[in-house]
Point group: C2
Chain length 130, copies 2
DNA sequence: ATAATTATAGTAATCATTATCGTTATTATG
DNA sequence: CATAATAACGATAATGATTACTATAATTAT
């Protein structure tokens, strides 16, 4: 299980994710990491992004249009996608509130519920959202 | 805008979506509609599913793995994806609760929020979820 | 130092989805 | 009703995102 070797590429990808509030796609990460590792392969970026997500050191976000996005912030929070510019923003809410949502869902669902994600749709302030 | 013509294929797709509680992918819809229209094209299925979604007569659901899914139920509700079998289930909650979520998000977000989706992760009762 | 093993770069392959285009179905009009 | 106008279709090619493959390089263990 712990048969995992260090790699500078993976470290750079994790570092980059931690340093930005954007929610870059794999391709955006690729273009950025390329500045430090000009020969890095897009496949390496995908492999490491998924590795980080599997290890809980990053979060994968699926939006209805465009490719998946990645978030280096691993404390539970929601996201807002701007319907005008398409950017994705963090939306921190009280974690107790999120936990209550899980419990509510667990009550209503015939089975068990452990976690959830939420994606809000709106207009960011740059695009005129009041 | 209303330059929309009737088509038997689209009617059949809408009928199928309305008749099932599953949340089929475009490919699943294709395989099913094919029984009635053996020559229907996958492109036609995609085009009509997106048309229905744009008109508000169906809902497109993005999950982190696999293709998008479609839901003929258009009253606002959440979804639960079973982490064991991968099926997607409806989770109806009081609409007032969903509206409160929007208002809460609107308060915290620097911009405006109009709607949201939520995807819960759990284990369905067929897979042993208590 | 060297053996063992994981990660990489480069590239091909796959999967989901959309675009193109000549033909067909539906609707509007004379 | 006949036919013109137009949207939808089926077939297929093209695209975009992601994964798989493989020989080489980097990391870790002996």
């Amino acid at each position: 299980m712990a048969n995992l070797k260090y790699s500078r590429q993976r470290a750079a990808i994790k570092e980059y994710l931690s340093s930005t509030l954007d929610h870059p796609t794999a391709d955006t990460v690729y273009l950025h990491i390329r500045e430090e590792f000009p020969n890095i392969s897009l496949g390496t970026v995908y492999r490491n992004l998924n590795l980080l997500a599997d290890m809980g050191e990053a979060v994968k976000i699926s939006t209805p249009d465009g490719g998946d996005r990645f978030d280096g912030c691993t404390v539970p929070h929601y996201h807002v996608v701007c319907q005008s510019c398409g950017r994705v923003f963090d939306l921190k809410v009280d974690e107790r509130y999120m936990q209550e949502m899980n419990e509510l869902a667990d009550q209503y669902f015939e089975g068990s519920v452990a976690a959830h994600t939420a994606l809000f749709y709106g207009i960011c302030k740059d695009c005129g959202g009041s």
